[in-house]
C-alpha cells in the first residue's frame, strides 16, 4: 500500500497543477489561440512600426511607374497613381486597426451603459432602450451604414461614430442578456436582501461581473468593424483618399483588374489574415476561459 511519502507527493502534485497552470496548459494546447495570437501580435507590430517597416511614403505618387509589376524597389508593385503598394498595405493597417478598435470601444461604452441599464432596471426604461436596439436592428446593417454615411459624408470620425451607434444595438442586446443572467445569481439577491442601495448593487456587484463576459463578446466586433470599413471604402464611401485603407486599395485593384489583376491580392490577403487572426484569437480566448472547454483542451 502507499506510504505517507508517496501520498504526500501525490498531493503536492495536485497543488502544483493549480488554477494558474490550468490556464497555461490550455493556452499551450490551443492551436486556435496560438495562431490567433501570432497573427494579432504581428498585426500590431506592423501598425506600430509602420514608419520603420514601409519602404516608401504611401502618399508619394510616381505616375510614370503606375501599375508596375513586382520589382526590387516596389516589392508589391504600384497602384494606378504610382504609389507603392506595400507601403499602402502597411499604413492601411493603421486605418483598419484605428477604426476597428476605437469604433468597438465606442460601441462597447454605449452598449454597456444601455445594456446594463436595460437588464437591471427593467420596466419602461428597458422597453425604451429595447425599442432603440430593435429599431436599429430592423435595418440590414450594411444598408443602414451606407445610407447614413452617404448622408453625412464619410470621414474617419463619422465612420467611427456611425459604426459605434449601429453596432452598439446588437452588442447592447447581448449585454442586456448577460446582465439579466447575472441578476439572477444568488449574490445579487443577497445584496438586495441585505439592503444595499441600488447604486451600490449596480456598480459594486453587477458591473464587475458583467464586464468580463461582455468584453469577450465585444472582442468579436473588432474584425466586423474592420471588415465593414473595408467594405465601405471599397464602395467609395469609406475613408476618403488619399488616406491608405485596405478597402480603397481593393477598389483600385478592382477598377484596374484588367490591366493589373494582381493588385487586389495584397490588400485582400492582409484583410483576410487580419480577420482570421482576430476571429481565432477571440474564439481561442473564449475557449480557454470557459471551464468545460478548457478541460477538454487539457485532456486532449
Amino acid at each position: 500500500m502507499r506510504n505517507v511519502a508517496q501520498q504526500g507527493h501525490k498531493e503536492f502534485q495536485k497543488d502544483m497543477n493549480g488554477e494558474f497552470n490550468e490556464y497555461l496548459q490550455a493556452f499551450r494546447k490551443s492551436t486556435k489561440l496560438f495562431i490567433g495570437t501570432i497573427l494579432v501580435v504581428t498585426l500590431f507590430i506592423v501598425v506600430i512600426c509602420a514608419p520603420v517597416m514601409a519602404p516608401h511614403d504611401p502618399y508619394k505618387m510616381d505616375v510614370k511607374n503606375r501599375l508596375s509589376n513586382i520589382s526590387r524597389t516596389h516589392l508589391l508593385g504600384t497602384d494606378h497613381l504610382g504609389r507603392d503598394t506595400l507601403s499602402q498595405i502597411i499604413y492601411g493597417s493603421r486605418t483598419s486597426i484605428f477604426i476597428g478598435v476605437i469604433g468597438t470601444s465606442l460601441a462597447f461604452i454605449i452598449a454597456l451603459s444601455l445594456g446594463t441599464l436595460a437588464g437591471y432596471a427593467r420596466g419602461i426604461i428597458e422597453n425604451l432602450i429595447l425599442l432603440y436596439f430593435d429599431a436599429v436592428r430592423s435595418f440590414p446593417a450594411i444598408i443602414l451604414i451606407l445610407v447614413v454615411i452617404s448622408a453625412i459624408g464619410s470621414s474617419v470620425t463619422n465612420i467611427i461614430i456611425v459604426f459605434g451607434f449601429i453596432y452598439s444595438s446588437l452588442l447592447g442586446r447581448t449585454i442586456r442578456a448577460i446582465t439579466i443572467s447575472v441578476c439572477k445569481e444568488p449574490f445579487i439577491e443577497a445584496a438586495i436582501t441585505l439592503g444595499s442601495k441600488k447604486r451600490t448593487i449596480l456598480f459594486r456587484h453587477l458591473f464587475p461581473n458583467v464586464i468580463g463576459p461582455s468584453l469577450i463578446v465585444t472582442g468579436m466586433y473588432v474584425p466586423i468593424m474592420i471588415m465593414s470599413e473595408a467594405g465601405l471604402s471599397f464602395l467609395g464611401l469609406g475613408v476618403p483618399p488619399p488616406t491608405p485603407s485596405w478597402g480603397t486599395s481593393i477598389r483600385y485593384g478592382f477598377e484596374n483588374i484588367m490591366r493589373a489583376p494582381w493588385l487586389i491580392l495584397p490588400p485582400s490577403i492582409a484583410l483576410a489574415l487580419t480577420m482570421l487572426g482576430f476571429n481565432l484569437f477571440a474564439e481561442g480566448l473564449r475557449d480557454v476561459l470557459n471551464p468545460e472547454k478548457r478541460g477538454e483542451l487539457i485532456i486532449s
Binding site: D134, A135, S138, F139, P140, A141, I142, I143, L146, V147, V148, S150, A151, I152, G153, P223, M227, A230, G231, F234, L235, G236, L237, I250, G253, F254, I257, M258, P261, I264, L265, S268, L271, A272, M275, L276, N279, L280, S300
Partner: protein
C-alpha cells in the same frame, strides 16, 4: 403561436414609419442639392424652381413624408429624379436577379453545410473533421466581397471559365446558371462556414444525448441514427439561421452585385446613392427593410414551427 406572429407583423407598421421618417431626415442633412444634380450646373433658376416644385424638395420633411405615404397608398413608390422611371418598376426589375442569387446560394449552402457539418461531427477529431472545421473557420473570416474578387480573378480573368459580368440571356437557363455560379459561391463561403459549425456543434450535442444511447442499445443501425434521428434534432437552429442569413444577404448583395455586374437591388441602391437619386434610394431602402423584417420574422417563426414542443405545447 399565431398570436405571436400577428403581433410581430403589427409591429412592422410603426417600424416602417420610423424608417421613412429617419430616411427623410437623413436626406435632409445630406450635402449637395439634388436639384443641381438633376438639372446640371447650367440650368436656369426657373427650371430649378420647377424641378423643386415637382419633387416637393422645398417643403418641410413631414410634408415630404406625407407625399411619400400618399403615393404609397396609391401603389407607387415615387419616380426617379434621373430618368423619370417609376421606382417600383426599377425595383421589380432588379428584385428577381437578387432573389435568384440568394436562393440559389442558400440552397447549395444548406445542403453542403448539413452534410459536411454532420460528417465532421460524426467523425470528430479525424482528418475529415480537421479539414472541414478548418475550412469553415477560414471561410467565416473572409468577407464576401474579398472572396468574390478572388474568384473573379481566378475563374473569370485568369482562366476564362465563367463569365465576368451580367445575368445571362433571358430565357436561357443554362447561361443564367453560368452567370450565377461565381457570385453564389462567393456569398456561400461565409454562410457555409457559419452553418457548418452550427451543424457540427449540434450534432455533437445530440449524439451525446440519452435518446441516442437508447436507440443504439436497441440496435438501430448507425446510418439511421445519423441520418434520421440525430439530424432532425440538429437541424433546428440551422433553419432559423437561414432566415436571418437571407435577411442580412439583402444588405451584402451590394458588393457582390457590383463586382459581378448583376443588376440587382444592391446595385440599384449603390447607384441611387452615388447619383443622389432620392426617390429611388427611399423606395429601395423601404422595400428592402420590409423584406428584411419579414425574413427575420419568418426565421423566428420557423423555429417555433419545426419544434413539436412549441407547436403542440
Amino acid at each position: 403561436m399565431l398570436k405571436y406572429a400577428i403581433s410581430r407583423l403589427l409591429w412592422l407598421i410603426p417600424t416602417l414609419l420610423c424608417v421613412i421618417l429617419f430616411l427623410f431626415s437623413l436626406i435632409h442633412f445630406a450635402p449637395g442639392d439634388p436639384v443641381d444634380v438633376i438639372c446640371g450646373p447650367r440650368a436656369s433658376e426657373e427650371t430649378k424652381a420647377l424641378v423643386r416644385d415637382i419633387f416637393h424638395l422645398d417643403k418641410p420633411l413631414i410634408v415630404q413624408a406625407g407625399y411619400f405615404f400618399q403615393n404609397l397608398l396609391k401603389g407607387s413608390l415615387g419616380v426617379s429624379i434621373i430618368d423619370r422611371e417609376p421606382v417600383i418598376k426599377k425595383f421589380m426589375r432588379a428584385l428577381p436577379n437578387t432573389m435568384v442569387l440568394g436562393f440559389f446560394a442558400m440552397f447549395w449552402t444548406f445542403i453542403l453545410a448539413l452534410v459536411l457539418g454532420a460528417l465532421s461531427g460524426i467523425h470528430q477529431n479525424t482528418w475529415i473533421d480537421y479539414v472541414i472545421t478548418g475550412c469553415s473557420f477560414g471561410m467565416i473570416s473572409v468577407p464576401a466581397f474579398v472572396s468574390a474578387l478572388i474568384l473573379l480573378l481566378i475563374f473569370s480573368i485568369k482562366l476564362p471559365v465563367f463569365p465576368m459580368t451580367g445575368v445571362g440571356e433571358k430565357g436561357n437557363v443554362l447561361d443564367q446558371l453560368r452567370h450565377l455560379i461565381l457570385p453564389a459561391t462567393a456569398i456561400s463561403f461565409g454562410w457555409f462556414g457559419f452553418m457548418c459549425r452550427t451543424v457540427k456543434a449540434m450534432m455533437l450535442e445530440v449524439l451525446a444525448k440519452d435518446y441516442v444511447k437508447m436507440e443504439r442499445s436497441f440496435g438501430v443501425p448507425s446510418r439511421y441514427i445519423w441520418g434520421k434521428y440525430a439530424l432532425r434534432n440538429a437541424v433546428l437552429p440551422v433553419v432559423t439561421q437561414i432566415g436571418f442569413a437571407i435577411g442580412e444577404f439583402l444588405g451584402g448583395a451590394v458588393f457582390v452585385e457590383m463586382i459581378f455586374g448583376r443588376p440587382g437591388i444592391g446595385r440599384l441602391l449603390a447607384n441611387s446613392i452615388s447619383t443622389l437619386d432620392y426617390p429611388v434610394l427611399q423606395g429601395t431602402v423601404f422595400m428592402t427593410t420590409i423584406m428584411f423584417v419579414l425574413a427575420n420574422l419568418l426565421a423566428d417563426l420557423s423555429h417555433g414551427f419545426l419544434d413539436p414542443r412549441v407547436r403542440h405545447g
